[in-house]
């Protein structure tokens, strides 16, 4: 172990990464010992993480060097695209699921990022827009999936309640109000809780990175606060958008509960 510690200069070498593979070996060992049957998954995930991150590292490096606004926009659009596909795949059986995921993730990330840039809070520099955009889009994706999946499940388990309301003359949105409210609240809890405990339990993302990279802690803290506020807005917009659009898809034009098993892609 004659390697120089990497942290001081924040320059990680491939040797450092190679040694970190020990961590993967420990995880694989644990899996084998307890017969979790996850060895293959762990190895594949580790390799994928390495390859994907290397690739994206080179892409971001290229974009930084190009100083092209178009390249930044294309990168953000690609991230939104992947997030949309990932989220929509969770909503299998729901009509218009790709449109719903795209509308929610696209609206929330473009609106929040656009507003922060327009207000001059975040520089339009690729160095800021790409990592912060990634965080916003990633969080929106998770929230879109959780909201949508929860709504689809509740629509099935609470079908009696929804049909009771419909039978009393409620509109689909009125009938689904309680399940909609619950799904949106549930999806927002993790973001709200991590905002609450920020700095005590979590030293997340940007701040960790900046501190390791040698930034002054107070600078890092200010950026982290800005990002958390942005994320709160982004996930709220995502959850409400997904909620309203999914509720629309759960009912037919005749205000009947759609049987999702038989749903046809519209």
């Amino acid at each position: 172990m004659s390697l120089a510690p990497a942290v001081a200069g924040s320059h990680f070498s491939f040797e450092n990464v190679a040694v970190a593979v020990v961590m993967v070996a420990v995880a694989v060992g644990l899996s084998r010992w307890r017969r979790l049957d996850l060895e293959r998954d762990i190895v594949v995930a580790s390799i994928r993480a390495f390859v994907q991150l290397m690739a994206i590292g080179y892409v971001i490096d290229l974009i930084f060097r190009s100083h092209s606004a178009l390249a930044v926009v294309a990168m953000l659009a690609a991230m939104i695209g992947f997030a949309t596909i990932t989220s929509a795949q969770r909503l299998r059986g729901l009509p218009r699921r790709y449109g719903i995921a795209l509308a929610a993730i696209g609206l929330s990330s473009v609106a929040t990022l656009g507003l922060m840039v327009a207000l001059g809070i975040i520089s339009r520099d690729a160095r800021y827009l790409i990592p912060i955009g990634g965080m916003v889009i990633g969080n929106s994706m998770n929230v879109a999936s959780v909201t949508g999946v929860r709504l689809m499940q509740d629509a099935r388990t609470q079908r009696g309640l929804i049909e009771t309301a419909l039978a009393l003359g409620a509109s689909p949105r009125q009938a689904a109000q309680s399940v909609l409210r619950r799904a949106v609240r549930l999806a927002l809890i993790p973001t709200i809780d991590s905002t609450k405990t920020m700095g005590i339990v979590f030293l997340l993302g940007a701040m960790t990175g900046m501190i390791i990279a040698g930034a002054k802690p107070l600078d890092a803290v200010r950026l982290q606060v800005v990002i958390m506020y942005m994320l709160l807005t982004a996930v709220a917009v995502t959850a409400v958008t997904v909620g309203l659009l999914v509720v629309g898809s759960l009912f037919t034009a005749e205000q009947q509960v759609r049987r999702l098993g038989e749903a046809v892609e519209a």
Partner: protein, 262 residues
């Protein structure tokens, strides 16, 4: 309209079919069902489990869309009535009372509130009394209710919409025998006291005999016999009806082959 009111038909179903499943695996739940329900009467739909009774009710208030055929309310196709208006006019009580969170009052007011209508405390008290509950039940939380009480509240909630027709989907089937008998007597009394038209679904032959009036037997999505219930139960014209009355209607008898073997 005049013609139907003259003959007194409130609700009419003609050649109604309902199919589920994708092409190739289509299954017919209702097969050419026709029936006439006279206004202000108690109409019983009798049939074994899985015969399509609930599906038939749901086609009437358009919780389900029939594949073919029509439902007429006062001679007007229900497809031409705005859905929410239709469901206000044709109320429904389900097998299990699904109550909304909150109090009994919240539940009774649910329908009127959808249309921003006010209902006085007196009117709510009257509704609760009509379904055999004390007036002060309004403040009770729904979590404190027994099964029978919950079903009465769901009945009061449906009545608060001032419906013209009330669809009852096995409303006593999930209650204990005492509560079941009480709710059944309540329904018969309501039918006698009001102008309301009842369409009552049950799988229980004895219950059908007790509530009487007009009705039909539905088996495998088809109407087997229809008419005054006492008469068709006393003097069955078909083998299927006879087998049902004798409690010997098996899966085989439900199939077209079983029906043909007369």
């Amino acid at each position: 309209m005049d013609a139907t009111t003259a003959t007194g038909v409130k609700l009419s179903v003609s050649s109604l079919s309902y199919e589920v499943g994708a092409d190739g695996h289509r299954r017919r739940i209702l097969d050419g069902v026709s029936l006439d329900v006279p206004g202000g009467r108690f109409f019983t739909i009798l049939g074994p489990s899985g015969s399509g009774k609930s599906t038939l009710l749901r086609c009437i208030n358009r919780l389900l869309e029939p594949s073919a055929g029509a439902v007429l309310l006062d001679g007007q196709p229900v497809a031409q009535i705005p859905v929410q208006t239709l469901r206000r006019r044709v109320g429904m009580v389900f097998q299990t009372a699904t109550l909304f969170d909150g109090t009994v009052l919240d539940n009774v007011l649910y329908g009127p509130r959808l249309r921003r209508e006010q209902l006085s405390d007196d009117a709510v008290g009257d509704l609760l009394e009509r379904v055999g509950l004390p007036r002060d039940f309004a403040a009770k939380a729904v979590t404190e209710l027994s099964g029978g009480e919950a079903q009465r509240v769901s009945l009061a909630r449906a009545l608060a919409n001032r419906p013209e027709v009330l669809l009852l989907d096995e409303p006593t089937a999930s209650l204990d025998p005492t509560a079941s008998a009480q709710v059944e007597r309540l329904l018969v009394r309501l039918a006698a006291e009001t102008e309301l038209t009842f369409v009552f679904v049950t799988h229980n032959l004895e219950q059908a005999r007790r509530v009487g009036d007009r009705g039909l037997l539905l088996v495998d999505g088809k109407v087997i016999e229809q008419g005054p219930l006492a008469a068709i139960l006393a003097d069955p014209e078909t083998d299927v009806m006879r087998l049902f009355i004798e409690g010997r209607l098996t899966g085989d008898a439900l199939s077209p082959a079983g029906e043909a073997a007369s």
